[in-house]
Subunit: 258 residues, 2 copies
DNA sequence: TCGCCGCTGTCGATTAGTTGCCGGGAAAAT
DNA sequence: ATTTTCCCGGCAACTAATCGACAGCGGCGA
């Protein structure tokens, strides 16, 4: 199952489609967040930044490699320099939910940032990655010394809190179909490329990937997509999805505005 | 619906049952969190504490009063001094999910702590409350001046992050029945009083309240409780729940340990 | 003491979503 | 070039959960 997850994004997304640092959040009600998270170290002086990075250790991951695992001992955070990391959770009975695919500019390893107890989530590289590890103890000392780093951490945590909240709210109050409609619209925003008969989602997610994102079974995703195809809302061709009627999807999503 | 929510906890819980500051978290996998959140101002010197509280404004709420509403403008956080505050979210179509009932020692108003954009959740007093408001702007200045306050905020946000994560994970990977079993066990921990034929949950939650906590409909809760009663797992008598077979509930919850 | 309101309990109809299975086909590995 | 892997697609049976509605009960306030 982990290996499967690792293959999450197989298609190559043209770099031009989205600016670096853009949001990775999959199920959120508020479009304004798509601007992405507040950069952790933007407010630091060059000297302070150097001081922080000196404590960090660069690490390179190949697609499929695990960065951290739920239940594993927690120590600090990782800043993403390049690549994409999928953060997800697997229940004791094997059901799986994906929180997000995080890109450059985000940090992962939360919700704790210092020496914590154990990881709440797992993180796996879904493409080749480069990350910088900031160990918890050192980070705590630095945060006490550099006020702007502490503020940056608070803002980062705040952003994460919004992500977790958004996911919980979607899962708690929307049906799976609504979540699927929501996700498709979001993927159109992130990876959409205009086409003669609609918008192509230029990233190949398998039905299983999608199922994990919306919290459903693979089969249900297949069935739902088929029904959407019958209604002419989308056209699918083996993990290639073309969205034809965004308005209908917006209706199905079932919410007032955005 | 808000009024209904306000009546959430009608029974009076003897003060002896749980120590002040104990956790309010409703759906969490990890028992160790029941110790509660890290106190926001524990690490401060008396002088620093005074400095912070000088910026605060005490506010008293009656049962049913709204402290903040989702979508409303955000400004800072509230420390709970006494009483209980229910934090929840209502979707555009009216479905509702409760995050938690927060007690003394916690702060509410997150996930943002400074001047934010808008509230992600709503907060309503479910019993008479006293809170201290810390406005965002002042809090930001204080956090930059007092390192230990910043660390306290980071730890507080970390704790909240765990709560949101736990809720999302439960909602994303457990069936409603599993969540209900989970909740009942948790309520036994929080409000349980030993009895001749089991453990009485000494807090009167209506079926609707419970439904909001697990993300289900009122009827489904009624049906599920009835089935549990038929199997002898619980005995219900009009919003009074007695849990007889905790082991069976633990099985139903469907997870490996604790 | 009466009347009202909110909560429980229940029913029937319906849909949404799961589980398990299998076969074919594309892509990747050897 | 061949094997292996894994992904889609579909099916059948089933259960979990929703929706709307309504009657009765109990508590509370007038």
């Amino acid at each position: 199952m982990l290996l499967q997850a690792a293959n999450a994004v197989r298609g190559t997304v043209p770099a031009t489609i989205r600016p670096a640092g853009s949001s990775s959040l999959l199920l959120t009600e508020n479009q304004q967040w798509i601007g992405g998270p507040p950069p952790l170290m933007d407010k630091l002086t060059p000297r302070e930044r150097e001081l922080v990075l000196k404590q960090g250790r660069r690490k390179v991951l190949n697609r499929g490699q695990t960065l951290f695992s739920q239940g594993g001992k927690h120590d600090g955070i990782w800043l993403i320099e390049s690549g994409r990391i999928r953060v997800f959770y697997i229940s004791p009975l094997g059901r799986e939910i994906t929180l997000a695919y995080w890109h450059v500019g985000n940090f992962v390893g939360g919700p704790e940032v210092f020496e914590g107890t154990v990881h709440q989530w797992s993180g796996v590289a879904s493409s080749n990655c480069s990350v910088v590890h900031l160990p918890g103890k050192e980070l705590r000392v630095l945060a006490a010394e550099i006020p702007n780093l502490a503020i940056g951490l608070i803002e980062g945590l705040t952003f994460k809190g919004k992500c977790y909240s958004a996911l919980a709210q979607m899962l708690g109050t929307r049906s799976i179909s609504q979540r699927l409609a929501h996700l498709l619209l979001h993927l159109v925003e992130l990876y959409g490329v205009k086409d003669s008969d609609g918008t192509v989602i230029a990233a190949a997610f398998t039905h299983a990937d999608i199922a994990h994102m919306v919290g459903a079974t693979r089969q249900w995703v297949t069935i739902s997509l088929k029904r959407m195809q019958e209604k002419g809302i989308v056209v699918t061709k083996r993990s290639q999805i073309v969205v034809c009627q965004t308005e209908t999807l917006e209706e199905m999503r079932g919410q007032a505005a955005d």
